[in-house]
Amino acid sequence: MQVEQVKVFTRPKTLRPVVTHYCPGCGHGIVARLIAEIIDEFGIAEKTVGVAPVGCSVLLYNYLDIDMFEAAHGRAPAVATGCKRVHPELAVFTYQGDGDFASIGTAEAVHAAARGELITTIFINNAIYGMTGGQMAPTTLLGQKTSTSPQGRNSKVAGFPIRMAELLATLEGAKYIARTAVHDPKNVIQTKKSIRRAFETQLKGLGYSMVEILSQCPIGWHMTPPESTKWVQEKMMQYYPLGEFKISKEV
């Protein structure tokens, strides 16, 4: 009996064969892979430029085999704007964490979307500052304990977590806005679909696109990886509902 061997799983070409710096159980690595798959599927590796600013996201340039910028903290959408305006033929995306996109760089985030810049933002929301060791993020949930909210986030002191997807969806220039998660296979598949739609929105020249991805940070949350996926499902998704908040009919 002859057995036919079919390759069903392989490393995307755009993903470099290197070990990442991400902690065990982290969602970043999954998203990096999904971006690489989408770039390969569109066949745009030679015309894509990525922008990674400060945070756990910054080292993305070590993992993707494409031209990449490292940007100052919070400024990735401005850097991407400059790049895209000068090279409109390129596909340009930013890869930002919550400290970057929802705190220090909110002005750039909002204005890039308001201008309808033809760029895509992949926004990792893990409700914590991962790289600096687990401090409170603008997306930290109420009651969530971090190294700078040791009693749990209190709205009287630290206000409320920001829902970036809903916020940006109100802007005319934003044409694809979605929130997804990567804590289980079903949601990983949905995330990939959203990243594809976001890139499509850009490539078709429709406007700004952003995918907010709820991502587990077991080390920052002081949990085991299984506990962290459960926390995404039970806690994060309650405050941050998944879905497509804005989509063009052309996509």
Binding site: V49, Y61, D67, E70, R85, V86, L90, A107, H111
Partner: protein
Amino acid sequence: MTGNEAIAEAAIQAGCRHFFGYPITPQSELPEYMSKRLPEVGGVFLQAESEVAAINMLFGAAGAELPCVIVNIMRGGPGLGGIQPSQSDYFQATKGGGHGDYHLLVFAPHTIQEAVSLTMDAFDLADKYRNPVMVLGDGNMGQMMEPVVFKKNSGLKLPEKRWALTGAKGRPVNLIKSLYLDPQALEKHNLEINRKIQEMIANEVRVETYSVEDAEIVIVAYGTVARIAKTAIRVLRERGFKVGMIRPITVFPFPYSTFEEISGDLRKFLVVEMSLGQMVEDVKLGVCGKAPVEFYGRTGGVVPTYDEIVTETERLFKGVP
């Protein structure tokens, strides 16, 4: 043309096709002019949401170790300060405005015609060294109008921009970054930047000397103050005082050696600035203790008049403390 408009036009004639800026007095005419002119030459004008966003858009357009030209039209500080002319950013411009071991090449024009030619040179040198170049003016320079002539570009042969991010078609990928977590790697990076800086110091110093041959007092001034000082020097010469001037055209690299060369009957240097004496330190380094260095300055947006400079110089001649 106003200085702001002239600098904008010079930039366009030097080949500038992309402008990211934010309006603020006293330089708002520059983005205004760019918004009108750039589309005519097929360029991109974008008004950013903030100055911070603007410089980062520039970063995106070009990349780290940026070959870019930054125009700083100085107003009084600190903080928000005022909107009247000043030279309060000398330290920031010449000693490094951010952290790290680096310098900008900094031009300080004193007329609008000079602002035009230096802006055009600035684009060439930014490309040559792959380093930001600053044109340091002040509110007067930005708002003032003078006739200007636009001369042809230098035609300097510029290095190919192999480092630019354009999509990695047919070449290995490029990466633009300033993060080097390994201290050995960062040291190597800094040494390479320093090599370029040393090259600038060796090759790019520009300075004007004015009536210094027989001068007993040499005024040191740059930008707007230098032209006010020229009027003061004419008045002083008419009254029989032997006065001259050294005018740094590049404030980084600073023309230290010019100060070493001035000797003879020299009694004193008088540094005049629209600040409380930021350039004095560089002058003292150049003079190296061979003559006293005095200072006269106005700050907060007050422009020193030639009368004030005349009075101050005469006071020094009389030896009045």
